[in-house]
Amino acid sequence: MYMQVSQRADSRRRAQGTTIPEAVVAVAIIAVSLGAMMTLNGNQLRLVKVGRDTNSASLVVQERVEKLRTLAWPDLADSSHMAESYLDVQAKAAPILNEVTEKIVISPYPAGTATPMELQKDPGSATRIINSGSGLMDEKLVRVDLTLGWKGSDGLAHTRAVSTLLAKSGVNRNDVPAMGPIAGGPFDAFSPALPPLPIGGTPPVVPVVTPPGGGNGNGNNGGLGNGNGNVNGKPGKG
């Protein structure tokens, strides 16, 4: 009989439920695990957003460079125009970014007597002209350094920068005739071709008429305008 009582007491001890400290520890472990998973998820979402911000920043920089190439040379050399009509106009892909800072430096290339123009736009304020530059109007080639900074979703400061060269008669064909009227013209009405190159000679000089105040960026650019042809002031079609 004593033996039976002793066995039952052992079985009781073995079959006891969890104590409160054991339960608390188990719950704490589960809570920490779940918390870790939630934190991991939060970090992952933040990384996705950081990646998206970075892509948007690259698109902003690309958009800025594309816009640069459409500027008339006098506008490019004018710090006030660059501040008010270029840098103060927000890029389409920029609103997604936080605390955007943009800085642009336009300097002669290769370095010459002209002094660089330096502009900076800080978040929530108009563009500051740090250095208005001088002599850029007479340059044939400039180097543009564009730097974009923003505060990422991870709380860190990020930067994208690009450098490019712009020629006075570069991609947008400033000063080059026969680039056509506004938004194109009749398909078969090709503008007159440039005179043929004399064999063994030097390329013909394209006549340039400099109007007072330079080009206006709207079809009738008078020589230093927007690359839309009509160098001699012929109004655009279309």
């Binding site: 009989m1 039976q4 009582v5 039952r8 009781r12 719950v27 589960i30 779940l34 998973m37 939630m38 998820n41 992952q44 979402l45 996705v48 990646g51 998206r52 892509n55 948007s56 698109l59 690309q62 958009e63 594309e66 816009k67 190439r69 459409t70 890029a91 389409k92 892909a93 609103p95 997604i96 991609v171 947008n172 026969a178 680039m179 056509g180 009227p181 506004i182 938004a183 194109g184 013209g185 009749p186 398909f187 090709f190 503008s191 007159p192 071709a193 440039l194 960026g217 709207n218 079809g219 927007n226 839309n228 042809g229 279309g238």
Partner: protein
């Protein structure tokens, strides 16, 4: 003696009362329920983030396609969420298994490849319902009459010209997509803003847009 032992055993191994059982089962139910809901939310969140990333990559890919074509186009026309352009006829596709790059020639003062009228390229969307019944769009690129699906399941494709650009030299393109998981209070407009990707491309060639009229 036996009775005494049994009584002692009963007194020390008494079960839980009904109230204790109810409270314990409620707590366990809440704990298991919250774990289930939490794990489901986590899974949804991971899936949504994966979808967001892959769709964003698709957006960039499509914008790269459009930008490539715009950079070489000599005529551009955009209307009603589609964009049409003419690009030079760079390739000889007479034999599809042996496509050859053409040499340029000068014709009427301009550089021409193959057919002087160029090749028409069009980006357009076609509406459909996805497997959940949501209205989405598929974006296609059509070249010389042959359409190819570029990306499926987007929300909007909006080409347009930059403001204050009378020459329409810069073409802007934006693409949005419907996220598969979002908070209840988020509006469609907010979703559109949060998923929009924008690109701007300068049309470099002399414009002959009248050819598209």
């Amino acid at each position: 003696m036996n009775r005494l032992i049994l009584a002692h055993w009963r007194s020390t191994t008494s079960g839980m009362t009904l109230v204790e059982t109810l409270v314990a089962s409620t707590i366990v139910s809440l704990a298991i329920g919250s774990m289930y809901v939490g794990s489901m939310a986590l899974q949804k969140s991971f899936r949504a983030a994966q979808h967001y990333s892959s769709t964003h990559a698709a957006q960039l890919r499509v914008l790269d396609y459009v930008s490539l074509d715009l950079r070489r186009a000599f005529a551009v026309k955009q209307s009603n969420k589609e964009i049409t352009m003419l690009i030079p006829d760079y390739y000889d596709r007479t034999n599809p298994s042996n496509i050859k790059a053409r040499h340029p020639r000068v014709e009427k003062g301009r550089i021409v490849y193959g057919n002087a009228n160029g090749v028409k390229v069009r980006y357009y969307i076609a509406a459909r319902n996805d497997h959940t019944g949501r209205a989405v769009n598929d974006l296609f690129r059509e070249e010389a009459g042959v359409s190819r699906l570029l990306v499926s399941g987007i929300q909007e494709f909006e080409p347009g010209y930059e403001d204050n650009d009378p020459r329409r030299q810069i073409v802007k393109t934006s693409i949005t997509f419907p996220p598969i998981f979002r908070a209840f209070a988020v509006t469609d407009a907010a979703t559109k803003n949060a998923t929009a990707t924008h690109a701007a491309t300068m049309v470099r060639n002399k414009r002959e847009d009248a050819a598209l009229n």
